[in-house]
Symmetry: C2
Subunit: 326 residues, 2 copies
Amino acid sequence: MTIKIGIVGYGNLGRGVELALNKCEDMELKAVFTRRDPQSLKIASDKAQVVGIDEAAAWQDKIDVMILCGGSYSDLPQQTPQFAEMFNVVDSFDTHAKVPEHFAAVDKAAKNSAHVGIISVGWDPGLFSLARAYANAVLPDGQDYTFWGRGISQGHSDAIRRVPGVKDAKQYTVPVEDALQAVRSGQNPNLTTRQKHTRECFVVLEDGANAAEVERAIKTMPNYFADYDTTVNFISEEELKEKHGKMPHGGMVIRSGKTDGENNHVVEFNLKLDSNPQFTGSVLCAYARAAYRLQKEGATGARTVFDVAPSYLSPKSGDELRRTLL
Amino acid sequence: MTIKIGIVGYGNLGRGVELALNKCEDMELKAVFTRRDPQSLKIASDKAQVVGIDEAAAWQDKIDVMILCGGSYSDLPQQTPQFAEMFNVVDSFDTHAKVPEHFAAVDKAAKNSAHVGIISVGWDPGLFSLARAYANAVLPDGQDYTFWGRGISQGHSDAIRRVPGVKDAKQYTVPVEDALQAVRSGQNPNLTTRQKHTRECFVVLEDGANAAEVERAIKTMPNYFADYDTTVNFISEEELKEKHGKMPHGGMVIRSGKTDGENNHVVEFNLKLDSNPQFTGSVLCAYARAAYRLQKEGATGARTVFDVAPSYLSPKSGDELRRTLL
């Protein structure tokens, strides 16, 4: 018996989840739910259906876990609680400041319907949060560092695209090697925003746009670029497509801490991802497995990665895990 | 109300646990249990007692969790089940092949007495096992690599000390940089034992010993050195004490795997530890907290790190964890 999965939203992340499910022998994609006209949407899987999002209620007996692949800004705050009234759900909600309120809304809905909802799943929040939690529990006297990159930031790329004269753009967040080495060596430095990351921009100009003007507008943009050392490279549309068409990302969570006056310990969790949405989709699938199992055991309500024992993520039995991975 | 801790066995690991408890405000060391004459044993903590191991039964109302710091070869197979009949227990059992049998024995005893026993806690097994489990769940189609070092292997140092003509010795296990880089770059290489680690030996000779003879005996020793590129350095007793008196260790667990034909992802967990026993002691303390809480909730029986949700390790509440570490 396989775990029957539904995907809500078929953007980059939805397609990443669909792909990840191919590697999970105990799970099966049953349907993709979309706000678009279902007739107009072609999906990769030939065994799954495309269904209008408003018809989801009719699928309650046919789907074990819904994986919500919408955006954190406007989709998930509505969709996750709404779907948790009908299904076990997993989402990748990443607006840190609004997590308490989102957790409460999902918890209420999921308890009400006796389902499980796991929120904020992915790599940050997600696996990075786990790395922070384990390292903090083990080294109470220490300092946390998170570096992102080298990878494409969708938000920063979008911000550049809004600059007049810009036709298209990609932005890479890049950790500063010296800062990283200082942290890894156990020096526990205090680092400013500028000391931790640089920003590399690849920009295609509109015909007739003023390059110097565009560069100035990008580099002085508050919040996004003003506090960083930013490089702007103007390239052709072809080069952007050819060399910057993928969605790599990654980063490191490092905790450095002491057990006594002389002994320091450095714990690092490091990700190098060729495709951010495909990897995030893979994490969502593992937690969908956990949501299914937790509910089978009688659990209800909201969870985060902190509340789920690792064994729930694996298709292996406890005995098998102990024999092969301990 | 603090969690009341007992330590069984006061070697390097026992002292590491004692030190780690100083950093845990919610925990308190009540007593160290020893096979030695309690009068003869001086411990660092001035508020805890030293007690003969045979008197442990009288401490059942005074101790919430016993942290067992004996060896995996002869101490823990006996002690952990025996203490689990009276207390919640945590141990660092690391004989991989005997885990199923040890788990079963602890499970039986702990269920019988309505306690929780968490076995094989530390960094390998322990945090490295967690890294393998999470990465395997998230990237089902991939390959695992574990590198150890640069760090002192107690077992290999002991093996050198048994060679005739050797007065004292320390052995460092060192990961091979080229192999590590190949793995990190996502090449998924197949590596032999020799390609993954080298062994560096620092040896103090007995007066009149034959250096060439000793070197040959070390380098050809089956299991320990014959399959590795081994370097033997002869140094003075003073130099050994001065430069090789600490117990650093660490290593990396890396999983490299694909989500489709073109996209590879590399997940790495990396430890650099100035003191192996102090860090292992810190991990044991975090899991002692978990054992206490699990039993409070009504759980009984044996667990490994796979079965414990990360939130149980932290003194922070679920709400605080979500606000600060997610």
